[in-house]
Amino acid sequence: MLPRSIERVLRRRTQRVRVYFGTQQVTVDLLAGWRRQLLRGVSQSIGGAGGLDGAIAALGEALRALRAEAGDLRGLACDVVLADAWIIYDVVAIDLLRVSPRAAGAAVAATLEDVAGVHPGSLAVRWQWQGDGRGVFAMAVPRSTLGKLKAAFAAAGLTLKSVTGEFVAVYNAQRSAFTGHRVVFAVGREAGAQIAVLIDGVIRATRFELGGGDTVGLSSAAAGVMRARGDDTTAPTDYVLDAMPEDGHAAHDPRWARVRPPSWVKARRRAATH
């Protein structure tokens, strides 16, 4: 039998925690190995009041439940996927050749703060140049939200390795399917759908559409995004959707091709409430 310290080191090396921080539920999974095999998973609904505090409380409950089942989680690496409703995405047109990275960062932050209507410096902003060098894709989250999340994970003894948006995670997983000249990609969840329009593999516009919505509603929202850009909405377009299946009563637009949603979307066994 291995000494406890060695077991702990091995566990830190081979296991990690993945958290899906949604708007209606929080899911915490314990994964093992390089293939990220699911060992245990717990979902916790966010209380009636909802909001950030309710979500943080649900996260704490889910972490406690997983610790009760899987043992001490302290020291394990943790990857967090934030639902898109917590995040602001935008595409900002900046010429890579004319603007320094520092100036571009300031401009992107100012743009996102303007879009969100918040005080300067209140958002944590991350961005990257697009493939054509003529714009950036950016995401932002309130610093207060990020701070509370970090505090919750620190209290559980987890080591934060990654915190990113669900759209980014799904986009990276599905981007090999976006080979058409014009692609509309949407990630639909309970709170709404994050829609992006890609032209020649570059994200040209993005918008968050509130509400669950059906594919007809998504098509209408996507047409609105394209029209705002001045694009021809009748031009050939590939529509790709990552969303849970609709019920039979929802209006359906057959142009949408569905991709399989990531595993964190599916609810796990509910954690017992204390």
Binding site: R126, Q128, G131, F137, T164, N172, T179, L198, D200, G201
Partner: protein
């Protein structure tokens, strides 16, 4: 065209770009290849050194297995041999010996040494046949062996209609007489030369 990967994260540092990763992989590959090359070269160096030490201890030239000698080595050796023969040929003495032949009716045009065959090809213009034959005799008596008149032609279109002739001769085998003085000092060398065969 597959869209680029989004590498934005609120806590993780940005991942190195694809180009950087590729460059890193190439650099690692180059280091490995360089290491392998060095190991091979070091092994060969040690082997050669050991062989050299062994040869020096025996005081003899090693017998190189012809099967082991690569084609490039053989070509290199052949090339080196050609260069060595060229360098060891007594050009100054040979040219001086030919140029000191006094014949007012013959004008020397071209001297083409052929080091590989230890011979020389001489092209000259003679005013008349007698001068040409006299020149051949002078060559044979002075410096060269196996003096052969290979061709001759009357240049009717040139003023005076000179005879353009070519001579081939060997300078090896001790036939070269460095200078008239040396030639006079060693008449046996001149007497070894064959008589000229005359025009064909």
């Amino acid at each position: 065209m597959v869209p680029q990967r989004l590498v934005i994260d609120f806590v993780a540092p940005p991942a190195p770009a694809g180009f950087g990763r590729a460059l890193l992989a190439l650099a690692a590959l180059a280091v490995v290849a360089g290491g392998a090359q060095f190991a091979i070269a070091w092994h060969a160096y040690r082997q050669e050194k050991a062989e050299l030490v062994s040869v020096m201890q025996r005081g003899a030239v090693p017998v190189v297995d012809s099967a082991r000698r690569s084609a490039s080595n053989a070509a290199g050796l052949q090339s080196a041999g050609t260069v060595a023969r060229g360098l060891t040929a007594p050009w100054p003495d040979l040219l001086q010996s030919i140029e000191t032949i006094r014949n007012k009716d013959v004008a020397l045009q071209i001297i083409e040494p052929i080091a590989a065959r230890q011979s020389v090809r001489i092209t000259a213009d003679a005013r008349h046949f007698a001068a040409m034959l006299e020149y051949l005799e002078q060559l044979q008596g002075r410096a060269l062996s196996d003096v052969v008149l290979t061709s001759h032609q009357v240049q009717v279109q040139q003023p005076g209609a000179p005879i353009r002739f070519q001579v081939q001769a060997k300078w090896g085998g001790g036939a070269v007489t460095p200078s008239p003085a040396a030639s006079a000092a060693s008449p046996t060398q001149a007497s070894n030369a064959d008589p000229a065969r005359g025009p064909r």
